[in-house]
Amino acid sequence: MDRYLELINPMLTVRELRAEVTRVERSTADSVTLTLRPTRQWRGFQAGQYVELSVDIDGVRRSRCFSPCCSQHRADGRIELTVKAHPEGLVSQWLYANAAPGLVVGLSQAGGNFHLPTPRPERILLISGGSGITPVLSMLRTLVDEGYRGELVFLHYSFTEADVAHLAELRDLAATHGNVRLVLAYTRQTEGGDLHGLFEETHLADSAPWYAEAQTYLCGPPGLMATIRAHYAAKGIEDALHTEEFTLPVFTPADGDATGQVRFGDTVVENSGATLLEQAEAAGLTPEYGCRMGICFTCTKVKTSGCTRNVRTGDLNRDPDTEVQLCISAPVGDVAIDI
């Protein structure tokens, strides 16, 4: 049905959730902020959650997760995404270069457990690094919209001041709300800001001395997350720390290695290097198959995570939640298949 309505207007859909880009701003040198108007199927989100956005790049549908950075109470129901153009990010680079008002993108409903509890905690520490700012900025804006009265510290790490997205608004929020404190930490700039250099324990004591009795929400690059997580664990307060991983580890396979584990639903086997179909059968499973030579697509299954190699072409497929032909795909490292 949606294929017929598309002829009239791509935003007129019965089942599919999509969104139209209504505004494009380039707030820092390497990021772009998009305002999206979702179709009527959109059920809203909770601050901190993410959505999957799909665009067609060179004919191929590519999907990536982004956290809305606007308040969950935004009056017009639109969502705002700030996308940092990562040097190796296919989708983020494409959006940075090509997003324009009128572009229609695929959208998923919001997901993820990284969000604030109800009722809201009495004291909240929000920590972010780089492009990890988006989910916690959404939390900040949401709390302000709710008239939150508790103590709230927003601690953000960036290379320099010029890299802070939404800086003017952050300063404005802190200036107009007595309970909100903005702490900016610069890792490659020694003047301005409140803190300098990589994370140290004193940063927490300086910006939110009460952090052990508060709830902390953290999103940032893996190094920052690991350090802070270790610190909370050492103090025995890891239950007060809530985190969101927003970068997936990129796996670069060496030639011809067969490492890791292959997960077929509930069955887990050591990767033998054979094709997924052979490994599944060796594990006693009986996935549906046909030609066993890559032409009939009977054995196609969804790969939920990991990297596979097409044994006919040698191409690597690193994207999660993509269909692979079991008979001509070999796992490279850990792979999970939905069987």
């Binding site: 002829l7 004919g59 191929v60 590519r62 046909g290 030609c291 030579m293 032409i295 697509f297």
Partner: protein, 370 residues
Amino acid sequence: MTVTLTEEQIDELGRELDAIRQRVVEDLGEDDRRYIYNVIKAQRAFEAGGRASLMLSALPPFWLLGTAALSLSKILDNMEIGHNVMHGQYDWMRDPALASKKFEWDTACPADQWRHSHNYMHHTYTNIVDKDRDIGYGILRMDPSQKWNPYYLGNPVWAFLLMTLFEYGVALHDLETENIISGKRKMSENRDLLRGIRRKVGRQVLKDYVLFPLLTGPQFVSTLTANATANLVRNLWAYSIIFCGHFPTGVATFTEEETENESRGQWYIRQMMGSANITGGNLFHIMSGNLSHQIEHHLFPDLPARRYREIAPDVRALCEKYGLPYNTGRFSKQIGSTWAKIFKLALPNRGGDTAPTPAVTVVPGLRDAA
């Protein structure tokens, strides 16, 4: 005819064909996406326009216009869109709307059964007598090595019926009725298949012969005849294109013995020698779902069909290089020789039973000598 090749030659041919495929795979992109979506848009427009025009189906010009548009819509849907999408030709786009495993088409045959009988059975075991059930579809004698019996006196009649009722013939194909008669298959194996067919046929009949005619009120009968005609036109066309793909004079068939332990190169050769092309213009290729390039389609069933035309000269050059036939001709010539075969094989072979002549003799090459 028999072609003699060494194992090295066959391996080399396989590598050269792999290289052609790889070249296309690397070039797939936005153009292919735009193309298939344009075809889909055209099909949707023909369907919507046709159905709209039939709202006045009692008036002959509207009946004619509506029937023509609906026929075009069904042909595009079944051939350039349905058949090709279900082959996984657009799976690389990762677009759920064009995913081979989820696609359903406007014809009586359920898509999942088609994928089994066609993508797997026919495309893997192409033209192997007793294995590829597309040789005569279990009801026709299309190869002299199929044993004659008096039932085949009706060969032209059965072929004519298959042509007019083609969508139902295709729908019943996966039931392997001939194997049930011969006792090789149990009726119970068909229970689920039959349920799927009943559901799909029911839906199609409801749509074309009840709902849309009812929508036109007092013009029920004229809309019904228009829809039936559109289905018939599609049946005649699909049957003719498909029969031209494997049955014209000169297409080779194979035995199970000679195809055991086939190498990739040998598989490629079987695909080329077991298929035939039809020459024609741009529009003809699109309306045939590019199955006018049956040879290229059988080599690379998962490449977007619009690409077959561009690789055809390279495939043909390879055939010439290795002395392999490349069967192509005008539509009238290919369909003519197909019907001639249907009539000829209604009668027993003149020289008694014949096995298919081996199409390729593989001679041991240097590798074995070394």
